[in-house]
């Protein structure tokens, strides 16, 4: 003990305690106690040289961090648990919105979980004490966010009138054809590869760009559709994101003056933008426009504001003087912002029994809104939905399934090997230019050239077994049952093709369709000949 006291006294001689106790002075003082870089080792080395003098813009100390976060929790849970329960808020939500939140909250939970690892590996790689400080606070933030997103599903599961899906969406991820796209962007994108590349994916693109529509502007839609829970929780999540955005910016600051960085930075930025955009642009758009009864504004306008004008202009545009250029894929990304969510939703309707939620085809009012904001929508998508409805899309006795209609009409559904998301080459209006490549005796589908280029550069990075490969030969009702996609009676599906309380589909109705899952890559007449 005596020895340790001496050590403390010696340390205080070298680094005198501050004369006042303002939190920022404490922060400055703490930075004097730095890591010994000569012996510092990292488990996750980066190809970039991260400057040891990089700063952390918010100057956090553990005391101020903990106080700030505890106030957030008190305000968030304090509001929700008492007042909203008494107001019966969970039952005043527009059904479409209550359904889409089954996916939004659950998919975002995966992102927050991946972000724990992503920010932890950055903490390990960085050598600047302040930079480490910022990353470390982010690790703790991300744990908080996992709990918050799970809490949204928990709250809906407890109070919303159709809890099925809010209660066990994690289990249903196994068969949801959209979920591999979540894993690709939020999982692999956030935490694998070079640490600085992870920072670009997670902090500079995922958080600084796409959390603004996904977590901030979505709250306006939630409020408009009677959801009193999501605005409070999501806006509280985002109060941490601004520090993460600053972390991402300081990652760039820490490397950008090194001439070697420019060998990689533009490619890593382009790939990260495409990786995050490929899932988030169609998913957020579909969630907002097809998951709502009351619509706020066209998704393409939100994208223009939050992604193009503000994120790209204020972040990337200002960094142009350091050699950052517009991503080569920007034009295609904008085409996707107009049409990608309509393409994705068409497939979600076609494959509804696998989604775990109740979907409803656009109403007459919805169709008019879509046509007004996306001229040409009705002729391309609206007519299909009208035909499907007439053929019995909603009726459990009809034997109709959109996926079978597509197969019978020559519209193959494939899985893009880079983004892991499904696409239909013959019905897409987004920037789809498909290709089918062979490697080591296996054939792969790609929906566009940006992803194809990424795969060609690092094929081992995109290894995964897609939905059709995994479940080829399985009968659909048997697959849904084995994945837990039924309600407490053991036979009624969690997913439904309408939001009515009667006329619910059961496993028997799916069994009557008699669909054995094919592997589209083996059905050659679906594939373009080029």
């Amino acid at each position: 003990m005596a020895g340790s006291n001496t050590a403390v006294k010696e340390a205080l001689k070298t680094h005198p305690a501050p004369s006042s106790v303002s939190s920022q002075e404490v922060h400055k003082w703490l930075q004097d106690f730095t890591w010994e870089f000569k012996s510092n080792r990292t488990k996750y080395p980066t190809k970039y040289n991260m400057d040891n003098n990089t700063r952390e813009q918010f100057k956090l100390t553990a005391k101020e961090y903990a106080r700030m976060e505890s106030v957030k929790e008190e305000r968030q849970y304090g509001t929700l648990l008492d007042g909203l329960s008494r107001l019966d808020a969970g039952n005043k939500i527009a059904p479409q919105w209550g359904e889409i939140m089954k996916l939004v909250a659950n998919f975002l939970e995966t992102g927050e979980y991946g972000a724990i690892s992503g920010s932890a590996l950055l903490w390990d790689s960085a050598q600047s004490p302040e930079q480490k400080n910022g990353y470390l606070a982010q690790v703790i933030d991300e744990v908080r966010h996992v709990n918050q997103t799970a809490y949204v599903n928990y709250y809906f599961g407890k109070h919303y009138y159709d809890p099925a899906g809010h209660t066990n969406m994690r289990q249903l991820r196994a068969i949801n054809p959209l979920y591999p796209g979540v894993k690709r962007s939020f999982g692999e994108g956030f935490l694998a590869g070079d640490p600085v590349e992870s920072s670009i994916n997670l902090q500079l693109v995922g958080e600084a760009c796409f959390t603004n529509p996904l977590i901030v502007s979505i709250t306006e839609w939630a409020a408009a559709n009677g959801d009193e829970i999501t605005p409070t929780v999501f806006l509280s999540i985002e109060t941490d994101e601004l520090r993460h955005m600053a972390n991402g910016y300081q990652t760039i600051v820490s490397i950008v003056n090194d001439p070697e960085a420019m060998k990689y930075l533009q490619t890593d930025l382009d790939n990260a933008f495409w990786t995050q955009h490929k899932f988030l642009t169609p998913f957020i758009g579909a969630a907002l426009e097809y998951g709502s009864k009351y619509k706020v504004e066209p998704w393409a306008k939100s994208w223009n504001r939050w992604v193009y004008e503000d994120w790209a202009g204020i972040w990337l545009g200002r960094l142009a003087q350091f050699g950052i250029k517009s991503p080569a894929c920007l034009g295609d990304a904008k085409q996707d912002a107009v049409w990608g969510h309509h393409d994705l939703m068409l497939l979600a309707y076609a494959l509804w029994p696998l989604t775990g939620i109740r979907v409803s085809l656009p109403s007459t009012e919805d169709m008019a809104w879509f046509e007004r904001h996306y001229p040409g929508w009705y002729d391309h998508y609206g007519k299909i939905y009208e035909e499907w409805k007439a053929l019995g899309f909603e009726d459990p006795n009809s034997g109709f399934l959109g996926a079978i209609w597509m197969m019978q009409n020559g519209h193959g559904i494939f899985v893009d090997h880079t983004s892991s998301l499904p696409f239909c080459p013959t019905l897409a209006k987004s920037a789809v230019r498909p290709s089918f490549l062979e490697s080591n005796g296996k054939r792969y589908a790609f929906s566009e050239p940006h992803g194809e280029r990424m795969w060609l550069q690092e094929p081992e990075r995109y290894e995964f077994v897609n939905f059709f490969e995994q479940f080829e030969g399985r009968e659909l009702s048997e697959l849904i049952k084995s994945a837990g996609g039924v309600r407490s009676d053991g036979k009624t599906l969690m997913a439904q093709p309408h939001v009515n309380t009667t006329g619910l589909w059961t496993l028997d109705d799916i069994k009557n369709i008699n669909l054995t899952i094919p592997d589209p890559m083996k059905i050659l007449n679906w594939q373009p000949t080029h």
Binding site: M68, K72, N212, E220, A224, L242, R318, K334
Partner: protein, 137 residues
């Protein structure tokens, strides 16, 4: 004169096919650098006061500041910089209020955001590159 930072200024003021044509135009398929900053602040008792008593009056000196009520949050966009002095906020609110209390309710930033002493600053400046990160003490 319309504020170019307004919520639906520029391309977003167009509708239907006109909007899509402008959005997808060649001119808009590359990034244009912006000197604006954006803030979203959760609506709370304190933030509503800060908007009314501190941010709105800032428009006298900086008429580019646009403020929008977006349901659960305030959306603010300005050219250059926004500084929120939490000593001043504490005086207006009549209670202890630090910059870390303010951060409880700032939901997003686009631009370089930081704390300096008891001030919250968001700026178009590339701090750490064009200038040093201010120490605050």
């Amino acid at each position: 004169m319309t504020n170019s930072n307004a919520y639906n200024a520029g391309t977003n003021g167009m509708e239907g096919q006109s909007f899509i044509d402008e959005f997808l135009s060649k001119e808009n398929s590359v990034i244009h650098s912006s000197d604006a900053v954006v803030l979203a602040m959760m609506k709370t008792e304190e933030i509503d006061v800060i908007i009314d008593e501190m941010i709105k009056p800032m428009r006298v000196d900086n008429p580019t500041i646009a403020i929008e009520d977006r349901g659960g949050y305030w959306w603010i966009k300005a050219t250059g910089k926004i500084v929120i002095d939490c000593d001043e906020a504490a005086e207006i609110l009549g209670k202890r209020y630090t910059v870390y209390d303010l951060l409880v309710n700032i939901s997003t930033t686009i631009g370089r955001a930081m704390t300096v002493g008891n001030q919250f600053i968001i700026t178009t400046e590339l701090v750490g590159l064009e200038s040093a990160v201010p120490t605050g003490v």
